[in-house]
């Protein structure tokens, strides 16, 4: 009788162990692993475009062929974003009504820090983009927030990006389940098809970089945030990351979300993280 019980116990234990052994690979596959993601992401693009140097990717469509690269070199001689950088510099230095400035809201007085945004703020429990941080700074000092898509916000971020040029993107994901969840949600948003055209961000920027959609050459997703904000000839003006995301949604015939909604901040977090190590090239110019 005792022997039978022992056998049954042994049998159950063996079954439980086998179940655990079978379950663990699936569990490992679902684990959120930003380091592995970034490695795979970079490898995909480096393999797809073996002639490009890693730092070339931050020039978007201008990195995709020689003719476009020549256009970029010429554009950089009289860059269309220059006015925005100048305007942003003046705005950045101008005190608020209470006498404080933007510099008081940021580490290192706001100079050369663009590569650290977006960041995860554990007090607010959410991803904070540079655009959101700037408006939080304004509101904390009794000023009205700016539009997230263009104008003053584009100029301010242009100037801040300019002070970070060449610095490697350096996004941190703290060991905080909320930060990991935000990163994962950003990834999900990036790959999810939406809009009547059934496009995801990845449809254009992973599956088809270098290809044309009508007259536009699609940029690779790798390094796409490093050039923000951008002057787009199509817009005939500067635009922020928010503007780019909103217009991407509209182009797939989806109703855009509100700028700086969770989804947009999280996808910026994801895309910036996987480009860690690539230089900031913003502000950029695009066709």
């Amino acid at each position: 009788m005792m022997k039978q019980r022992s056998l049954i116990r042994f049998g159950f234990s063996a079954l439980a162990l086998a179940a655990l052994a079978l379950a663990s690979p699936a569990g490992a596959a679902d684990k959120i692993d930003p380091v592995a993601d970034a490695k795979a992401f970079k490898k995909f693009f480096y393999d797809k475009f073996p002639k490009l140097k890693p730092e070339d990717f931050v020039n978007g469509p201008y990195s995709m062929d020689e003719g476009l690269h020549k256009q970029w070199v010429e554009k950089e001689q009289f860059p269309p974003y220059e006015f925005a950088v100048e305007e942003g510099k003046e705005m950045f230095a101008k005190p608020f009504k209470n006498g404080k400035t933007y510099a008081d809201c940021f580490p290192n007085q706001g100079i050369g820090i663009r590569q650290n945004y977006p960041l995860f703020d554990d007090k607010q429990g959410k991803v904070i983009t540079l655009e959101l941080a700037l408006n939080q700074c304004r509101e904390a000092n009794g000023e009205a927030p700016y539009s997230y898509v263009r104008g003053e916000m584009a100029s301010l971020t242009a100037y801040m990006a300019f002070t970070s040029r060449g610095k490697p993107m350096d996004i941190k994901i703290p060991d905080d389940p909320r930060a990991l969840a935000a990163y994962e949600q950003g990834k999900e948003y990036f790959y999810t098809r939406r809009g009547q055209l059934n496009f995801s961000c990845a449809t254009c920027h992973v599956q088809s970089p270098g290809e044309r959609v009508r007259t536009e050459v699609l940029a690779p997703a790798l390094g796409i945030m490093n050039a923000m904000p951008i002057y787009r000839s199509e817009w005939n003006s500067m635009g922020t990351t928010s503007r780019r995301l909103v217009t991407c949604n509209s182009q797939t015939r989806g109703v855009p979300l509100t700028p700086q909604d969770d989804e947009y901040r999280n996808v910026e977090y994801y895309l910036s993280y996987v480009a860690n190590g690539l230089p900031i090239s913003g502000p950029g110019a695009r066709p």
Binding site: Y191, R194, Q196, S200, V206, Q207, R253
Partner: protein
């Protein structure tokens, strides 16, 4: 006399069966709006749905209920497609992921 009354009744009945009424339009519009609101909760409304809804309202306000109902049904179909897309993408997005 009886025949005349029967004919009048038949004509009236046929009229209510085939011509769209304001009530039919309102029901179709409400169904489309409800489906679009559901898509909104899934954070995936489509621009053509809003366009069709606006066209339905415009035709309804002008008293063209046939057109209004057709537009409302188009809007409902589009909204339902966006809902289907959102639900199926909950799993399908992983197929596109770079690993």
């Amino acid at each position: 006399m009886k025949i005349k009354l029967a004919l009048i009744a038949a004509v009236l009945t046929a009229g209510s069966a085939f011509a769209a009424s304001e009530a039919d339009y309102k029901a179709a519009y409400a169904a489309a709006e409800a489906a679009n609101a559901e898509a909104g909760k899934l954070r995936n409304q489509w621009i053509p749905t809003a366009t069709a809804l606006a066209a339905a309202k415009k035709a309804g306000d002008a008293g063209d209920f046939d057109k209004a109902i057709a537009e409302a049904k188009e809007a409902e179909a589009l909204a339902k497609a966006s809902i289907y897309q959102s639900i199926s993408e909950k799993k399908l997005w992983k197929d596109l992921e770079i690993r």
